[in-house]
Structures are given as structure tokens and as C-alpha cells.
């Protein structure tokens, strides 16, 4: 991350300027929630990726600042609405918008943020705008579809591993690819390079999500992971680990697993499910699947026509991200 500190500072300055414009806007109920969620401490991975991509193609990263801001506003709009859907009380350790204000305000301030994401893009000249819109709209629709699939999974009995991979690709991974491609568009990268940087981001996002599922059960450095171990098991979340285990289980094993999922005893449940995971060597399987996507990501990065040193930095940053080092 060290290598990108100046790009991050550049974005943070741009975000601060934008937030300053919100401070005085009326009605306050519409703009304070936006200002609030954008003030919460965050890694700013998506906007940073946009700036990195622009810099990778040898253009001043400043020209990608609005693309980066647009993506960050979109991401935060989706967090506000997702938190309503999930009835989440906290986001980044602070009250969610619907908790701090109310659901109506959370819906409407999210809506206006989605419009503002397009408004910020509209600062680009007509031709660049058109190119940015192509990828941004496609991605926005996919993010909504991914969120709907995720909601559907909760009430569905059977979800396949491939359904799951499709869901996380849409819900999480494509926005990383989109951020990078938007930066590349600002830098006028060619179509091939755009495609490769998009695929790099997408596969990186899938690998990240798979490792997130894995760490929820197997994290050794819980501080670095930042979440409660076993939370997914306790809430019966349909993760890659659980779905892969179901896929590999015979009828008896499935019944045993179902019984554990219905158990009210938290400690027993986590221990029991982990024992089954171990029987199937699930930790290795999820790591292998993540590795596959990491390799695919890096493969696409290598295909890009750009400075070798810059590509090396980006690869290092990606590995750091997967290891939760940034």
C-alpha cells in the first residue's frame, strides 16, 4: 500500500472537497447521511484501483479522480441500501444510516447518491462519459442482481457452488473490475488492456471473497481479519465452505450437517461444522479455488501492455489485499 500512498492521499483530498459541498446542502436529511457514510474510515480500495489503473497507463491519475469518486459513491449507496435489507445495526463499527436516522431517509439518501454517482461521471467529456457509462451501468445492474441472488439464497434450500460463485462475482467482484477499467478508460487504454485490467480486478474480487469465507472460520490473526470467528457458521450463511461441503456430502452426511445447522448450541455448532469441514479438507479446497482466481487475475495483469515495474507493484498490492495486509 505504501507505494500507493500518494494516490490515496490524492483521492482523499478529492473526497474531502466533495464532502464539503454536501455540508451545506438542503434538505439536510438527504445529504447528511451521504456525508456521514463517506466520513467513515474505509480503505477506499475501489477508487484507489481506478487511480492506479490510470497511472498504470501513464496518464496523470488526477484525470481519473471523478471516475474514482463516482465508484466510491456508488459503493456507499449500495452499502446504505444493503444495510436496510440486512437489518444491519453497524457498518464499519458505527450505526448504519437507517439506525442513525430512519429507513425512509436511508432509502432516499441512497437514491440521491446513486444519481450523484452518474452526476460525477457527467463531468467527463461526451466521448469519455459514454465509455465510462457502458461499463458502469453494466456493473451497477450486476451489483443489484448479485444482491438479489444473495437475498434469494437465504430462503432457498439448495444453492450450488456455481450459483454462489456467480453471486459473489456480481455482488462484489465486478465493481473491482469496473473501478480498474474506468481508470483505464480515463487513461485512454486500448480495448484489450481494458478487458485484461477488468478481468484482473474481477478475479481478484472473487479470490478475496473466497478467502473472506475461509478466514471467517480459520483466521488465526483475528485482529487482522476484524470479524468474529465462526459468525458465518452461527448464522447458517451459505458460504463457499458450507455449499462445497454439501456438494461433497452423501445423504447421511447431509443430514448430520443439517442437524448441526439447526442446533441452538453455538459452541457445539461451530465445533461440529468445523469437524465436518476438516473431514472434507474444506480449508484446502477453498484456498485452492481462491488460488485459481488469484492466478487468473495475475495472468490477466501480465497480458497488459504497461511498464513492468508498475505491474509488479500492482501485483504486490493485490497479494497484500488477499493477505489482509492493506
Amino acid at each position: 500500500m505504501q507505494a500507493y500512498q500518494s494516490l490515496l492521499s490524492l483521492f482523499n483530498g478529492h473526497l474531502e472537497n466533495y464532502r464539503n459541498t454536501l455540508a451545506s446542502k438542503k434538505p439536510a436529511e438527504l445529504y447528511e447521511p451521504e456525508n456521514y457514510i463517506l466520513s467513515l474510515e474505509a480503505k477506499r480500495i475501489r477508487p484507489l484501483l481506478a487511480l492506479i489503473a490510470c497511472d498504470l497507463f501513464e496518464k496523470d491519475a488526477k484525470i481519473a479522480l471523478n471516475a474514482a469518486l463516482s465508484v466510491e459513491i456508488f459503493h456507499n449507496f449500495s452499502l446504505i441500501h444493503d444495510d436496510i435489507l440486512d437489518k444491519a445495526p453497524l457498518r464499519r463499527g458505527k450505526p448504519t444510516v437507517h439506525e442513525k436516522w430512519n429507513t425512509n431517509i436511508a432509502i432516499l439518501s441512497g437514491d440521491v447518491m446513486l444519481v450523484k454517482a452518474f452526476d460525477i461521471l457527467n463531468n467527463y467529456d461526451a466521448n469519455t462519459l459514454k465509455l465510462l457509462m457502458n461499463v458502469f451501468i453494466k456493473t451497477s445492474v450486476e451489483v443489484c442482481e448479485g444482491q438479489q441472488h444473495d437475498m434469494n439464497f437465504e430462503s432457498r434450500n439448495s444453492v450450488s457452488v456455481s450459483d454462489y460463485l456467480q453471486m459473489v462475482t456480481y455482488k462484489t467482484a465486478v465493481l473491482l473490475g469496473c473501478s480498474l477499467q474506468m481508470g483505464a478508460i480515463c487513461a485512454e487504454a486500448n480495448a484489450n488492456d481494458q478487458k485484461n485490467i477488468y478481468e484482473f480486478g474481477k478475479h481478484l474480487g472473487i479470490a478475496f471473497q473466497l478467502l473472506d469465507d475461509m478466514l471467517d472460520v480459520y483466521a488465526t490473526d483475528t485482529k487482522k481479519f476484524g470479524k468474529q470467528i465462526g459468525g458465518d457458521i452461527l448464522s447458517n450463511k451459505k458460504t463457499y465452505l458450507l455449499l462445497k461441503t454439501f456438494e461433497l456430502s452423501n445423504t447421511d452426511q447431509k443430514q448430520k450437517l443439517e442437524a448441526l445447522l439447526n442446533s441452538p448450541k453455538a459452541e457445539e455448532k461451530i465445533k461440529g461444522v468445523m469437524e465436518i469441514y476438516d473431514q472434507f479438507n474444506i480449508k484446502t479446497l477453498v484456498q485452492q479455488e481462491a488460488d485459481k482466481h488469484t492466478k487468473e487475475a495475475i495472468g490477466h495483469l501480465h497480458l497488459i501492455n504497461a511498464d513492468a515495474e508498475k505491474k509488479k507493484s500492482l501485483e504486490k498490492m493485490a497479494i497484500g489485499l488477499l493477505n489482509r495486509d492493506i
Copy 2:
């Protein structure tokens, strides 16, 4: 309306084609609500205005079909989310989306419709897209702001008549102006004509809303009006009539009005409030205010450089709209 039957049919065909693309899209929970709300019987005023404006400037109305569709999708997105905010059980006589499905699905299907509104615009060439985005984004933000002001009014003790006019301008009127201007942009109308057609639509929208408030109390042809007489009085809705009455009242009169508003007896309440309205000649005052905006609308229409016959038809249509004849 007769004069515009062919434009309406043109739009309805385009809408049907669009709805056909939704029918098979997955996840169904995301796209069925959109298909449903777009299937409800509606006058399609906004898309019709877009096509009329395009035709007014002597271009084939077909080229404005996507602008018209975008505006109609945006309008219906705002209805889905507003119905959640208002806890409305019915929309156009049918269950609202959050009633027929649930609030989560209503939020998310609304979100994807907002993105689709931009997606449809993105069918235009880069330069036209840019011009359309300028007015569409400004208007979308205003519609959200108007809705937030409207929500705020419910809990505010004192709302001025001018606050109210600002709110209805944003919540309702600007989208009519925007629809017309977008049609004019598709027809490559000059900036002056664009401005005048926008102002025509905006003032028409304000007049329409004022007359809507008036008819809620004084409609003689209730079938034509289509709503329950006195509904606004019963629900203490801060309409132009009520706010104007407060503005004109002395302390005693205000107290009497407040007491009536708190009365649980429906019939007495409607009768009492109407008596006060009559003392202040409110029916005439609201009609005068509506007339002022109608005249302003027509004034802007006259300034437009276009075929006199076509302008006459549009004026006739506007008057018909205000008289609830279309």
C-alpha cells in the same frame, strides 16, 4: 388527447417491447416488480410530452422514444420508493410493490430501475447523451429533494406557502419540464426553445398540482377526479389550501383551525375546515394561483419557434390535462 393518439400508441409499443425483455430476466424478484408497475394502466403523460416536444421541433418522434422510456422508468422507480416511504397499500388501484412482494424487493427493484433509466439513455450517441444527462440528472436530484421536503413537512409545525410551492415544483413539476426538454434535445432544438419548453412543462406541473389540491375539496365530478373528496383534510395534509389559510389567519382563527385538525370526527372536520376555507375564499385563491402558472406556461409556449398549429394543439392538450379531460 385525440391529436396525440398515434404518439401514445408509438410509445406504448416501445414500452411493450421493453417489458418483453424484462419477462425472462433473472433474478425474477428483481425484474417482475418493474414489469408489474409498468403494466399498470397509466396516462403516460411524461413520455408523451417527450414525444410531443420532439415532434414540435419537426423531428420524427421515434428518435425520442428512448428518452421517453427513460423518463417513464424513472417516474415508476420513484413511485415504488415513494410508496414505501408513504406506506401506501395501493397504486393505481392495485397493490403497491412492497405490498405485493416485500419492502426489500421494492427497494432493490427500484434501485435497478433507476440504473435502467440511465441505461436506456445510454442508447443515444455521445453528444446527445451528454445533453440529456445534464437535464435528467439535475431533475432526478430535484425529485429526490422534493420528496424529502414533503416528508419533512409532515413533522414540521410551520410550512410557508412558498416552501410548499418549492416542494411541488421539485417533487412533481420539474419532471414534466424535463420530459419536454429531453424530447426537444432529441430534436436538436436550440437552447432558447429548450428553456421555454422546459418552463412550459414546469409551470403546467405546478398548476396541475394546485388544482389537484383544490379538487380534493371541491371536485364536483368525483369520477373524473378519481379520489375521495376531503381526503387531504382528513389526513391533515399540508396542501396549498391549508397553508394559505394558515397564512391568512389571525391567532384565534389559527387555534380554531388547529382544533378542527385534531378532531376525530371525520364529517365535522371536513365541514368545519371547508367553512373556514370559504371564509377566506380559498377556492378562488388557489384557482388564481393555478391560473397564474397556467398563463406563465402558455406564455413560454408562445415564445417557442415552432409551427403555430402544433403549438395550439399542445396548448389544448395542456388545458385538457388541467381540466382532467385526458
